[in-house]
């Protein structure tokens, strides 16, 4: 537990928080990268997932895409994208993370729309609602819990993988850990563990907050039926 107490000492030094490139700077970078990546992921994943779910087609394609992205290392996209016309800096990091945020968002949106009782949709059609009206007034409201579940999975995953941006000088909290390794384990051990603790805490906080959001947007009658999150695996690194 020697490194652990060193980590607490490191975290207890206010300068480690307020220095340029300190914890506060890195935390803000981390959150900005995460927010942009999740936003882009939502803009791409949700419409496609909702449209495919509404049409009831492409389930196999959704699963294939989700499984294929599992096989691609985040590190590979992080190193390849800066060498494309995207250039260096934050955009390639955000795009790389957004790519991995799309599958959970898309798959959950698709599952959400597909898991609606067909009789409900039949009834809505019988009442004279057009396809677009069924989508807006019946399917989307019923799919909101799934959309929230996808958002939660994607956001937690992006928060976790944003730490990898340090491999390509992309900023974020991973820089703290990498800088610790740069000092060597004997000197920087405390900083490495401290960085690890902060990243873990951030991931768990985001997970907790979004679980709360998911609960809030789930209508009470749907809450009674306990569901497990439908997507079984997401990329973690």
């Amino acid at each position: 537990m020697n490194y652990f107490s060193q980590a607490l000492t490191w975290l207890n030094d206010p300068l480690n928080w307020t220095n340029p490139g300190g914890l506060f700077d890195r935390l803000i970078e981390h959150l900005q990268i995460t927010a942009w990546a999740v936003l882009i992921g939502c803009i791409i994943g949700w419409p496609i997932g909702i449209w495919l779910g509404h049409r009831g087609k492409g389930g196999a394609a959704v699963i294939t895409v989700a499984n294929l992205t599992l096989a691609v290392p985040t590190l590979a996209l992080l190193t390849i994208l800066p060498l494309t016309p995207l250039g260096f800096g934050r955009p390639p990091v955000i795009v790389a993370l957004a790519v991995f945020a799309v599958p959970p968002l898309l798959a959950n949106a698709y599952t959400g729309l597909r898991s609606i009782d067909p009789e409900t949709i039949e009834a809505a059609k019988g009442m004279g609602l057009s396809g677009g009206q069924v989508l807006r007034r019946v399917e989307l409201p019923l799919a909101v819990p799934y959309l929230a579940a996808g958002l939660r999975t994607a956001a937690v995953q992006v928060v976790a993988t944003a730490a990898l941006a340090t491999f390509v000088n992309g900023g974020g909290l991973g820089e703290i850990i990498a800088a610790g390794f740069g000092l060597g384990i004997n000197v920087g051990g405390g900083q490495i563990v401290a960085g690890g603790i902060v990243v873990v805490a951030l991931a768990l906080i985001v997970e907790g907050l979004l679980a709360l959001v998911q609960r809030l947007v789930t209508p009470a009658p749907l809450r009674a039926v306990k569901r497990r999150r439908p997507v079984r695996a997401t990329s973690v690194g």
Binding site: E29, G89, G171, V200, A203
Partner: protein
């Protein structure tokens, strides 16, 4: 666009990306030919680490899944615990494990990989076990199987499709995750991806290693899929 620009604290890349064109192609047979040994040993290390991680995870996950299956009140806690482990970012887990275990061996990476594979395996094993029909279970009990005998001879074989789904997902994500081990110099092909990036953006090295990682994942997935088909001939008979 202020969010997208570099803040004052962000590190600036040390060198500009190398020119496109003949000097630094994305793919080069010459590179593969000249570095076959390096690529081969990295691939072997990568595959070996993946295999060890998945096998260890299998050894840990199977008893846990059976425990959760036999003792229902334990299902929630076991799944929740592995879910929390899964939420921990890979880099952070490595940062917590590496100083404790040391970076001279690949044990820190191995333990991190095993912890990540656990959730996927336990969930799918449990799905497989709970999908065994009640009639089958009762018939087995009626034939005089003990609890353990029933598990070994009836329930586990019938859960094989779920077990293989879990193994495939865990293997594919483990192959991708090994690259994160680059943080402590035990990343297999990830080392080469990162090495190419740091070696003045050597595109051929980056792309070749990436292709090898994805190919390794797909090949292992295919092998497990075939093995699963061979071991569960009844699933094919039912569909045909």
């Amino acid at each position: 666009m202020s969010f997208l620009s570099w803040g004052p604290a962000a590190a600036v890349p040390l060198a500009a990306p190398a020119e496109d064109g003949p000097g630094n192609p994305w793919f080069s047979w010459q590179y593969i030919h000249d570095n076959a040994d390096t690529l081969g040993s990295a691939l072997l290390f990568h595959a070996g680490l993946t295999a060890r991680a998945v096998i260890f995870a299998l050894i840990v996950a199977l008893p846990l899944a059976v425990l959760a299956y036999w003792i229902r009140p334990l299902t929630g806690p076991i799944l929740a615990l592995s879910g929390v482990l899964y939420t921990i970012p890979s880099l952070a887990l490595l940062a917590l494990l590496a100083p404790l275990i040391g970076t001279t061996s690949d044990w820190a990476v191995l333990i991190a990989l095993v912890l990540y594979a656990l959730l996927v395996l336990i969930r799918n094993f449990l799905t497989g076990l709970t999908s065994v029909p009640d009639e089958v279970r009762e018939a087995a009990t009626g034939m005089g199987y003990s609890r353990f005998g029933r598990l070994l001879r009836v329930e586990l074989p019938l859960a094989l499709p779920g077990i293989f789904t879990g193994l495939r997902l865990a293997t594919v994500s483990t192959v991708a995750l090994v690259t994160v081990g680059s943080l402590i110099g035990k990343g297999g092909l990830g080392e080469l991806i990162l090495g190419g990036f740091r070696n003045n953006f050597y595109k051929a090295e980056i792309l070749t290693s990436t292709i090898l990682v994805v190919a390794l994942a797909l090949v292992l997935d295919l092998i497990l899929a075939l093995l699963g088909r061979l071991l569960t001939p009844w699933t094919r008979r039912r569909t045909s």
